[in-house]
Amino acid sequence: MVGATTVDDVTVIVTESLSKRYPRVTALDRLSVDIAPGVTGLVGANGAGKSTLIKILLGLAPATEGTAHVLGLDVTKDGGTIRERVGYMPEHDCLPPDVSATEFVVHMARMSGLPPTAARERTADTLRHVGLYEERYRPIGGYSTGMKQRVKLAQALVHDPQLVFLDEPTNGLDPAGRDEMLGLIRRIHTDFGISVLVTSHLLGELERTCDHVVVIDGGKLLRSSSTDEFTQVTTSLAVEVTDTDAHPDGAEALRAALAGAGVAVTTGAAGSEGLASPGHLLYVEAAGEETYDLVRDAVAGLGLGLVRMEQRRHQIAEVFRDEDTAHAGPATAGAPSAPYATQDGGAHDVA
């Protein structure tokens, strides 16, 4: 068997003008995409074609036209071989409540072709790796959502695939559970050497987890690039201020003051920032150091409280906004290292 040797050089998924048309809808429209080893996020609203793509890649549904290769194998001819080397974690609940995690995962390992002894060994290993210990002998019915997600992940990994498809793995998890799951997904690649294709409509998650993000919408490829490119620092400043008695709408007062000083100011687009209400955020085009001073002076002059003023990063969510909205060009300012900076990113939802 081909072990973990493929993780370096080959593309794991290649599609060539892949289309899938149903009588009434077009689920995929001439989608051509190359996906390299690593953690790749597949982003799209509900109905964007994510599940259809996974179905085709698993060789379960024929494409209307175009070709797709997974791990170098043709999906139309070698579906069985692909499914032997690929893991799949569905979005929905798929666990029977009356068996224990161990029994269930052993059964699934055998369904993947592992001999009985190997199935038991791999099950013990995999459940430990996803963080299930003594509870794995209890019936799944009594598990929390987080534990169930781990079992679902374990069954996708138990046969040591070269690639896993994770469909909305953080669905229904609380923030802590979500962080743990994202960490686990990261480890699947870094520690286990397994490539990951993870779908989500929560963009903030993918910023934090993926090397590469593929955005599809209406079955079409909207963008495919590395996560860094998505989250470059822009030249605009996000400013949030408090209201005072003198200025019941502090943001509006500041906007007027800054506009008077000749600075381009936009108010936060609805739904763009999770924490503050949109009206309280201003985006200020920073021409240079003096803009910071200007904002500071304007805020002080109005007697408002400055809640925050920070360099703004692109967020993947912007891909979905009006295509006309010109993004500021790549800025050179020293970006804080990781995209983890935007903790509120997890709240973004295109659906």
Binding site: G3, G80, P96, M108, R110, M111, P115, A124, D125, H159
Partner: protein
């Protein structure tokens, strides 16, 4: 944690070991689709008797199995002690006498076998693995039919062994057993098909149980009643044909025509040989039809 062989164990001078519990790749054999199909078959077959499931779920199938075999044991005892010249019941009719037990077993286990996967949406986990729709259906069908075969063939073996102990004619008894086994093979396939199709229609297990019982008993009740009426009114040929409309009378018709049994129809009327062929044909068609319906049912049940 069970002691696992570790890939790298580095010895330190003090004699202590550092076990590497990092991720290990699997490079053993992958046995593929045929093996997965066999595994699913054995898992489903064991599951039908509650093996590999909770203690609670073993009670009913084991109880029914005992109930199925008990009359055979009693008959054998009676035959041995009374030194009778033949068994009180023919091999081919035994299952028909105990059809209620078989029906209960099917009603309890067929939904268990298929509704669970549908209800808890485990089907995509199967179909994202090497096995395909046909493998899944074939495994489940074969497992259910085998479970029924074990249930119905075991008492026949008890009868056979008992008959030999009672020193009944060896050739007669062997022939009877063989005919009986053919009858229960047909019965197992037919009942498994009907039970699985009915249970696969609903993800709710309770509905499945009720529906299987209804499908087995209501036609039987109706056919028996109408046969009785037809017999009283003197239309004996109609009695022969009416048996086509319920599963157990189908088997009864086949066994009484071809397998040397006596039918349970009113007055022991058996279908004519021509009608017998129709019975056999209908039985085989229903089995094939159930298989096709199951295949259809799972076409949409994928991801």
């Amino acid at each position: 944690m069970s002691p696992e062989p570790t890939t790298s164990v580095s010895a330190t001078p003090g004699g202590a070991y550092i076990h590497n519990i990092g991720y290990r790749h699997y490079d053993g054999p992958r046995l593929g689709r045929a093996y997965a199909r066999r595994s699913l078959f054995s898992q489903s077959l064991r599951g039908a008797y509650g093996l590999g499931r909770s203690a609670k779920s073993k009670v009913l199938p084991m109880l029914l199995f005992a109930v199925m075999c008990l009359p055979a044991a009693i008959m054998v005892a009676v035959t041995v002690f009374t030194k009778a010249g033949s068994l009180p019941v023919g091999y081919t009719r035994y299952a028909i006498y105990l059809q209620a037990v078989i029906g209960l077993f099917l009603a309890a286990q067929a939904p268990q076998s298929v509704s669970r996967d549908l209800r808890f949406k485990s089907i995509p986990l199967y179909f994202s693995r090497p096995i395909e729709r046909g493998d899944y259906v074939a495994s489940k069908f074969a497992a259910m039919a085998s479970a029924l075969f074990i249930l119905t063939a075991a008492p026949l073996l008890v009868l056979y062994v008992g008959a030999l102990l009672a020193k009944l004619d060896f050739v007669d008894q062997t022939k009877g057993l063989a005919q009986g086994l053919v009858a229960v093979v047909l019965l197992s396939l037919l009942f498994a098909g009907i039970g699985l199709v009915v249970s696969a229609l609903t993800p709710r297990r309770g509905f499945g149980v009720a529906a299987v019982i209804a499908v087995l008993t209501i036609p039987y009740g109706a056919v028996s009643a109408v046969q009785g009426i037809a017999f009283v009114q003197g239309s004996e040929s109609a009695v022969g044909w009416l048996g086509l409309f319920s599963p157990i009378t189908l088997i009864d018709g086949v066994q009484s025509t071809f397998l040397g049994g006596i039918s349970s129809f009113p007055n022991g009327l058996a279908p004519t040989t021509g009608a017998g062929f129709v019975y056999l044909l209908v039985t085989l068609t229903v089995i094939a039809g159930c298989y096709a319906l199951l295949m259809r049912r799972y076409r949409k049940a994928g991801l």
